[in-house]
Symmetry: C2
Subunit: 124 residues, 2 copies
C-alpha cells in the first residue's frame, strides 16, 4: 500500500511527529520518489516545493529524521511519519517544532524551545 500520488500534482502532505514526545514537528510534502527513498533509507526525504527538488531532511543542518513509524490516512492521501529527530530541532528557525507560535486572541505566544541559531547552522 502506498499513498495516492495522482492527486495534487503528485504530492501528498506528510505530518511529522516526534514519536517519543508526541510533539507535531512540521508538515512537509512527498512525491513518489521521496516516499520510496524514505522507505529504503529509513530517513525522511521530502519534496521541496519552493526549491523544486528532493529534500533530504537534515542534509545541511545534520538534523535528520529517523523514521520509526509510517501511517496512512483513510483516504490514502496523507502520511503520518513518527520520527526520532536528530539534533532536537525540526524547524529551520531553530525551534524544535515549526509550530512554535500559539495564537491567543490578538496575541502570539512562543510555545517551543529554540535550540540553535539558524545563522550559525546554515551560513557556514
Amino acid at each position: 500500500m502506498k499513498p495516492n500520488f495522482a492527486k495534487n500534482e503528485g504530492l501528498v502532505p506528510v505530518i511529522v511527529q516526534e514519536k517519543s514526545s508526541g510533539v507535531v514537528l512540521m508538515l512537509a510534502y512527498m512525491n513518489e520518489r521521496a516516499w520510496e527513498e524514505t522507505l529504503q533509507t529509513g530517513k525522511a526525504v521530502y519534496w521541496s516545493r519552493s526549491r523544486g527538488k528532493l529534500w533530504r531532511k537534515g542534509e545541511e543542518s545534520g538534523n535528520v529524521q529517523l523514521v520509526e513509524e509510517v501511517l496512512l490516512d483513510c483516504d490514502e492521501d496523507t502520511v503520518l511519519l513518527k520520527v526520532e529527530q536528530i539534533g532536537r530541532a525540526a524547524c529551520h528557525t531553530g525551534y524544535i517544532s515549526c509550530f512554535y507560535r500559539r495564537l491567543h486572541g490578538d496575541k502570539i505566544e512562543i510555545v517551543s524551545e529554540k535550540v540553535f541559531n539558524p545563522e550559525e547552522v546554515y551560513n557556514k
Copy 2:
C-alpha cells in the same frame, strides 16, 4: 496573525491533534471563511475539497471538535489545531484517528480503535 491563504488556491492544510493524548487525528483544509468561523465559534470548521463547501466537523455525526489551541507554522501556511474530540472518533470510518493503518514492510497493522459503525451514524 493568520495563515497565508493566497497560496494553494486559498486553502491551508490543518493538522488536528487530540490535546489530551497527543494523537494525530486527521488532516483537513481551511479557507479563510472556515478559519474565521473556527475562531469565532471555538469549533473546528473546514473546507471540504470533495464536496466544495464548508464542513462543520461533526454536523452529521455529532463528533464535533472543540478547539483548545491554534498554532501556526514558520511559513504561516499550515495550522495545527489541538482539540477535544467529542465522541472520541475523528474519522468517518469509525476509527479514533484517520491514521489507523501502520505500514510494516508489505503488511498493514491496524493501530487505532474503532468506536462506531459508520453505517449506523451516517445512514439514518
